[in-house]
Amino acid sequence: MTNRFGPEIVERELFGKVVIAGSASGNILRLSAPISFWGGIDPETGLVSDPRHPDFRKSIAGCVLAIPSTIGSSSSSAIMLELVRQGLAPAALVLGTVDAILVLGVIVGRELGYRALPVLQIDQSRLQTLPQDVNARIHDGGRITWTA
């Protein structure tokens, strides 16, 4: 959209349910298929490592990672902890369904003194409206904002 002053800047927002509180910002990466962190994310690089996953080789480090759904390997919490420990974790997680195993990695990381990333839960349908590769801010209280 443009007007006589140039492109119109529109601030968009969504509200998520706070799972782990905090604020953060980063580019949105919305995964296009369910993922198991164990076997699906390389804890040494932060890259999607499952060749069958459509987002193969994309980096989840430092981004606002939106995951429609996870596949529950019980070792995924260990992979999440490794990412947190090595500074390769996403800036924030936005989950379609809360996966206690994945969030456990964040909780244990915080207990060990590493930075806890904010985790939000948001309905699948609204999660799908998050645009790809746009900078977003996660605010305290669960508000997600970006400009479109």
Binding site: A78, A100, G105, V108, E111, L112
Partner: protein, 417 residues
């Protein structure tokens, strides 16, 4: 929000040491996420968190063990990333070796029993019907819930140790009576009775079952009443590899299923899935990733080989010698019994490579050159290609022995046609 008892609040406040307080904080937060409104006291634990995935797991275990606190309930340990009795077998760099060793040592310092087995239920750890426990390792969870009738959810890394330290678990899911009722009936009555009498049936059926039922609790109708413990073990291990199966009932066999109605909490499940011999033949074919004849190695013992399975192997072997490496993964407890009974020298002379405390699919043991691995385990068949780079062929134990004697894949097809 979760409600804690006075004793639990005292634990969380650190009155019994910082490690128990940390465990209680983590457990409470996880219990909230799982939707529990209280914790339940447990009588035993099985910890899966001793397998090395990275240095964070070591840091966590050492944090818990630092203040000298011990687990509150009898606790066994699942496999680690090392064979501590045969240290040269695992290919690893010095850093990984040292960290894997420290991780295993920290859990022993916490007072856990160094069983290092994925079949703790065959190493004397057998909770009774209705007991509340907290177990990790998917096959062990399926077995303890289904075959022994004890009650646990699937506890993975970190949470298993927090439950063991605090003696508590989130009161939700399979800890609750109604969470254990079958909502699905699997009708296996049409499958060939001859096939159901063989060991080779159970890993294949388990693989089909896991994919068909996912996370649901199902009751199976039409399995033989004299099904063995090792067959149930194979079924559960395969089902929890292909699906998130934590509990299954077998009508007329498992303790919570005297019949289909009882397994369903007093009523027959509304949904029924039929399974046929043809369905299972397709699943069996898909368990193998190659049709090559040449064989590079055989691996059995996932879950860890039992004494009964060793007896079966001995009678198939008849003292002959294998021409390709034949790995048997088992618990150190089973190895000890074989040794004390004088059975070990004959098995070693036949060319068997014993792997204890770990297994060939979770840590690098198989020769790096790759090739074709044959197994009788649904779980090995599932994980071998991704974890080891080997092609895999599924066959019965008799097929594995016959093939390893000649170095050429031979399978008895008569049962499946």
């Amino acid at each position: 929000m979760i409600e804690l008892s006075p004793k639990e609040r005292a634990l969380a406040a650190g009155e019994l040491g910082p490690s128990r307080a940390a465990a209680m904080r983590i457990l409470t937060e996880a219990a909230d996420l799982m939707g529990a409104d209280r914790l339940v006291q447990i009588s035993s634990a099985h910890i899966d968190g001793c397998l090395y995935h990275g240095d964070g797991g070591v840091e966590f275990a050492e944090m818990l063990a630092e203040d000298g606190n011990k687990v509150s309930v009898p606790t066994t340990l699942n496999v680690g990333a090392l064979d501590l009795l045969h240290p040269g077998l695992v290919r690893t760099d010095p850093h990984r070796y040292e960290m894997a060793r420290r991780q295993m040592a920290a859990y022993v310092k916490l007072g856990c029993q160094p069983t290092w087995t994925c079949a703790p239920y065959q190493a004397g750890h057998r909770p009774k019907l209705g007991e509340q426990v907290a177990w990790g390792e998917s096959n062990a969870v399926a077995f303890v819930n289904s075959v022994l009738g004890a009650r646990t959810n699937r506890y993975g890394d970190f949470l298993d140790a927090c439950c063991a330290l605090t003696g508590r678990a989130p009161m939700v899911g399979l800890h609750e009576p109604a969470g254990r009722w079958a909502t699905l009936l699997v009708d296996a009555r049409q499958v060939s009775p001859q096939l159901k009498r063989t060991d080779a049936f159970y890993p294949v059926f388990g693989t089909w079952f896991g994919a068909a039922v996912g996370e649901q609790v199902a009751v199976i109708e039409g399995l033989p009443a004299d099904i063995t413990e090792d067959q149930l073990k194979a079924l559960g291990a395969a089902a929890s590899s292909s699906g998130a199966v934590a509990l299954f009932h077998v009508a007329g066999v498992t303790p919570e299923a005297p019949d289909v109605e009882a397994a369903g909490g007093g009523r027959r499940p509304e949904t029924t899935i039929q399974v046929t011999t043809e369905d299972l033949r397709d699943v069996r074919d898909r368990l193998s990733t190659t049709t090559a004849d040449r064989l590079d190695a055989v691996a059995v013992g996932s879950p860890h080989f039992s004494l009964q399975e060793f007896a079966d192997l001995e009678s198939l072997l008849e003292g002959r010698r294998f021409s390709v490496p034949f790995y048997v993964c088992t618990g150190r407890g089973v190895l000890q019994v074989l040794e004390s009974q004088g059975r070990l020298p004959t098995l070693v002379a036949s060319g068997i490579e014993f792997i204890v405390d770990t297994c060939v699919v979770v840590t690098p043991i198989l020769p790096e050159k790759g090739g074709v691995l044959m197994t009788n385990s649904g779980k090995f068949a599932h994980y071998t290609p991704a974890n080891t780079g080997y092609e895999v062929v599924y066959g019965s134990l008799a097929d594995c022995v016959a093939s390893a004697l000649t170095g050429t894949v031979t399978r008895d097809e008569s049962l499946w046609t």
